[in-house]
Symmetry: C2
Subunit: 352 residues, 2 copies
DNA sequence: GCCAGGATTGTGACCGGTCACAATTACCTC
DNA sequence: GAGGTAATTGTGACCGGTCACAATCCTGGC
């Protein structure tokens, strides 16, 4: 025997799924006709089509996605590159992408950027690129930002970014939520309650200088002529918030805290509680994202709702437009953040 | 010109990445030799290998994953089928799988089972199967269970299940955590504090009858001769817990509640708070999973820690063993749950 | 100096589809 | 019934790799 036969399994039965050639033989037509049928090509005689269709489901034929991708050059797949898959924002974006991808019958792969290390990132980007489809990079952190830069030329890519490029009018395939406005509004809310200033616990940021949330917070303070305390650096999870919260709790002048996300807020609240400071009686706390638990905490958390799922869907939509270049690439969809006031924010304590 | 050229992009420049034939030409060897070099085959003369290597990185050659998969029949990829990607347990399992897969240089794809509807599930399973690689099905819910059943013969698959098959000694490629024991221990903990009985808020379960968590809870009650209240059906998120909690809060005889997961517990705690019942003074609450927020709630949540990440890694390990059938398939790895006692559980109120 | 045998390298076919174009067949009109 | 056009169907090459086997190159032993 010549050639090879990877479809042979251990038992010796040739169990490989039927190919179009097999179907063609069964239906007594050429493989090309089978190809036409499975692709819904119009010019196939009705009777022939039926014969082929019958053969197809008798043999249980299913078109190999791999072979299709190789031959056609179109892979109908997206790889999502992200530094994390579990935190609320990331997970929700991924969910949104998956939803949109599924309904366009695209396949979704994920690649996690475990470290922001240059070569590690490069390796992961390469792997993703080799997969053949498009890329969506979540660039909320240094690893993601670096990944976005390293995507080789010629590969369709969409970035989910924190802040749009310096030129907002540019047509980079990017999507984002207006975190700056969101932070601005949350801060204004707290200031409007009468707080002298608002402290900020930051998420690990992609680009320190221009971090949108930080910028929005600062802008609101500046506009109100409030003092600008240094932001406290946090992590993504509650543990980081807890650490930050302890420092802030020790400072009696702190009466309002804005947190980079709801998990951070949770940690901060816990730290305040441990320090015996009541919320919102002595200190007000606001979060960011409106994660599912925010509404159920005690006190429930004032936060800014961000539509991450929608963001994910938009990202996929953009990518889809890019690869099927038929669809005109829609301009950057930007979802509007919404302030959700709950129990954790209130007026500052009265100084007596 | 005959044939086709999918690598031609809009600009007309042929930008396709070099193939082994291109490299071969550049290095003045046959394509087979290039193949040998990239696969590390031993019998290639050192000087030739170097020449090829030089050509490879001069041309920026990267082996097409698609072509490789098609020709070799091995795709080095896993598709994870799951009903959800955002809830703690699911997300952590996915994370574990991804970690393990990445270090084995496998690609991870995800397929979400949006509904448990028979045909919807079948469609998604088919899509996953068409992708070519192995499958890991998270079967914690009806959709997942159904998916696991529908995986066509001949495709390597590993199930992450709630309860092992009726015959624990069977060698189905399944992994699980011992949720039954976990629930049993949590319940015992509460009973040992003096509660007359423990109520249970259940997660949507895969197989009502045999739901492991429910079974463990029931076993502990029975063993202690405690009354067995009907479990309250919850959802996966805090909202469901909140609804369940309202019912339970209305019943003054309820002094201890075990929840099917930490999000449910959060909702329950909130409902109790709204009803003016203190935790743990009047009612004790215990969760399940030890999600990141559990330790930071106020009161912090007593729960059972489950190693989902490890479970995910184990699932991948099993799958890897199955596909590279060289590695002996390890017996079901079972991680041991650990009770974490925190502030939300305490003795029942003294009846005076 | 010739030959066997291992080390290297090359050739042809194949994986399961798609594309471009040629070949047939069917249907209409005059 | 001939001729022409539209509708169907078939053929050959190709995507970018891998496998099986054949061919060529070297080297040492006699």
């Amino acid at each position: 025997m010549t050639g090879h036969n990877p479809g042979m399994n251990v038992t010796g039965h040739t169990s490989r799924t039927a190919s179009i050639r097999d179907v063609a033989a069964a239906a007594n037509v050429s493989y090309q006709t089978v190809s036409r049928v499975i692709n819904g090509h119009p010019s196939v005689k009705q009777s022939t089509r039926e014969r082929v269709l019958a053969a197809i489901d008798e043999l249980g034929f299913r078109r190999s996605a791999t072979a299709h991708a190789l031959a056609s050059g179109r892979s109908r797949s997206v790889t999502v590159l992200t530094a994390n898959t579990t935190h609320h924002g990331y997970a929700s974006i991924l969910q949104g992408i998956e939803e949109a991808a599924r309904s366009a019958s695209y396949t979704v792969a994920i690649g996690v950027l475990e470290s922001a290390d240059e070569t590690a990132v490069r390796a992961e980007v390469q792997r993703a690129a080799d997969a053949g489809g498009g890329l969506i990079v979540i660039a909320y952190d240094p690893a993601g930002v670096r990944a976005l830069q390293q995507v080789p030329e010629g590969i369709p890519v969409v970035g989910v970014v924190e802040t749009p490029a310096r030129t907002p009018g540019s047509d980079r395939p990017w999507v984002w939520t207006d975190d700056r406005v969101a932070a601005y509004e949350a801060t204004r809310h707290l200031l409007s309650l009468g707080h002298e200033t608002v402290h900020y616990v930051a998420i690990p940021s992609s680009t320190r200088r221009t971090a949108a949330r930080t910028a929005g917070w600062r802008a609101a303070l500046r506009e109100a002529g409030a003092p600008e305390p240094r932001p406290v650096q946090g992590t993504w999870g509650p543990a980081g918030g807890h650490a930050a919260g302890r420092k802030l709790a020790a400072d009696p002048s702190v009466t309002a805290i804005l947190c980079g996300n709801d998990d951070l807020a949770l940690g901060v609240m816990r730290a305040l509680h441990e320090a015996g400071r009541s919320i919102p009686g002595e200190v007000s706390v606001a979060g960011f994202d409106d994660a599912p638990h925010a509404a159920y905490l005690t006190p429930s958390l004032t936060t800014v709702r961000l539509d991450f799922t929608g963001l994910g869907r938009a990202a996929f939509g953009l990518l889809h437009g890019v690869v099927e270049q038929s669809a005109p690439v829609a301009p950057h969809p930007v979802s509007v953040p919404e302030l959700v006031v709950r129990e954790s924010s209130g007026p500052p304590p009265v100084i007596s």
